[in-house]
């Protein structure tokens, strides 16, 4: 797996590690059951703080991408892409709930909200085609 840390990026280093591990899992470069580099080895090689890597690995575990087994290492969890799909679904639900809430404030009926969604959807697809 390739991990590149940018020093000029405004994205914190732990976030950079997280994103790259995630995309490696998504693309299939990292397979189920594969082991991530040990925390301290990675910190040494990238010359970054052990706590930074710890944070990245812990958050990856919380989000269900890897599993940390005490003393054995950090393993890639099964079917990462499905997990991501679930995560994205949850995010859509969150945003839609927010939209519903705002629609209520604006006293917008449901069919109007549907119509708005359709318009935005078509506009976006149209933009992408053109």
């Amino acid at each position: 797996m390739k991990l590149i840390i940018s020093n000029v990026s405004s994205v914190p280093i732990y976030e950079q590690i997280k994103q790259q591990v995630k995309s490696a899992i998504l693309s299939g470069e990292l397979q189920e059951g594969e082991i991530l580099p040990s925390l301290r080895t990675l910190a040494k090689e990238l010359k970054i703080s052990v706590l930074t890597v710890t944070r990245a690995y812990t958050e990856l575990e919380q989000e269900g991408f890897v599993q940390n087994l005490q003393g054995r290492g950090c393993f890639v969890m099964s079917r990462g892409s499905e997990l991501i799909h679930e995560q994205l679904l949850r995010k859509i639900e969150e945003h839609l709930s927010e939209a519903i809430h705002t629609a209520e404030l604006a006293e917008l009926p449901l069919d109007e909200l549907h119509r708005l969604l359709n318009i935005l959807w078509e506009e976006k697809n149209h933009d992408e085609l053109s």
């Binding site: 280093i13 910190a43 040494k44 703080s49």
Partner: protein, 283 residues
């Protein structure tokens, strides 16, 4: 997690300088940066840890043992690198090793010689003929050759070129890799610590300004930038240290205050920003 170094309520009075109630702990397996402007008390803290000067108040434990009452038990655990050479200048490296290494029970001659090889130090050379970077590497190799558990470095990178500084950081990263060694590293070149340090202890005029993880310190503050006229009086009060110039201003703020500055450019801080603006606060 065991604490390799515990400093508790440490105080020291000099006629013109007081170190006041300093406490911090360094856990096993991590690197801590000791930062602060010149004269903030970094070297005083290190001398107190090494029992080189008398402390007025407080307590220091190294691997759980008191650094004064159990000094001889504690010292073999500590390795030290100062900013200037502490070996006899007229001796060669080989002579130094032959004459002093027998004081160390756990001395590992093979390890020392292999480090000399790795650092490309000629053991037949006199200490005084070594460059500053080479002298630093010699002190470092020395500490590694008796397997010190805690490495204490006082301004090791001042006066070193970027190549030697990078080498030092590589060695430190290797040193703590097994999780059984810790490093206390005083410096005012904060870029050295920006990536490698896990914890930061920040002294300001003899007082403890912060101790904790580096990420925590960096997340406490933000930089805000904008035009001079944009700044409202109530915003002015929130600034911790500010630099104004003809076309605008930049200032350090607490991250919790960032909502008061919506519409202005807000950026993450570096350790250097924090040090510069905190010291400007008093002006």
């Amino acid at each position: 997690m065991t604490n390799y170094l515990e400093v508790m309520h440490l105080s020291k009075n000099y006629p013109n300088f007081q170190l006041h109630d300093i406490s911090f702990t360094l856990p096993e397996g991590y690197i801590m940066g000791l930062i602060g402007e010149n004269g903030s008390g970094k070297t005083t803290v290190i001398k107190l840890i090494l029992n080189m000067i008398h402390r007025e108040n407080g307590k220091i434990n190294i691997l759980g043992k008191d650094n004064i009452s159990e000094e001889s038990a504690v010292k073999p655990y500590i390795g030290v690198v100062f900013d200037s050479n502490c070996f006899c200048e007229e001796w060669t490296i080989l002579q130094t090793m032959k004459r002093i290494s027998s004081f160390y029970e756990t001395w590992n001659k093979e390890k020392f010689l292999s480090l000399m090889n790795r650092f490309q130090l000629d053991t037949k050379k006199k200490i005084k003929a070594l460059s500053k970077g080479m002298q630093m590497k010699l002190m470092l190799a020395w500490a590694l050759s008796y397997d010190a558990k805690v490495l204490i470095l006082d301004e090791p990178t001042s006066g070193l070129d970027p190549v030697s500084r990078d080498e030092l950081l590589t060695i430190l990263a290797e040193y703590i890799e097994d999780g059984k060694h810790s490093v206390l590293f005083s410096t005012h070149i904060t870029s050295d610590l920006e990536r490698a340090a896990d914890y930061i202890t920040y002294l300001h005029y003899g007082e403890l300004f912060f101790t904790g993880s580096k990420e925590e310190l960096l997340s406490m503050f933000c930089m805000v930038k904008g035009g001079r006229e944009e700044l409202q009086p109530e915003q002015q009060k929130k600034l911790i240290g500010v630099r104004t110039f003809s076309t605008g201003f930049e200032a350090l703020i607490k991250t919790t205050d960032r909502a008061c500055f919506s519409g202005m450019a807000i950026e993450p801080v570096t350790l250097e920003d924090i040090m510069i603006f905190i010291s400007r606060k008093g002006e």
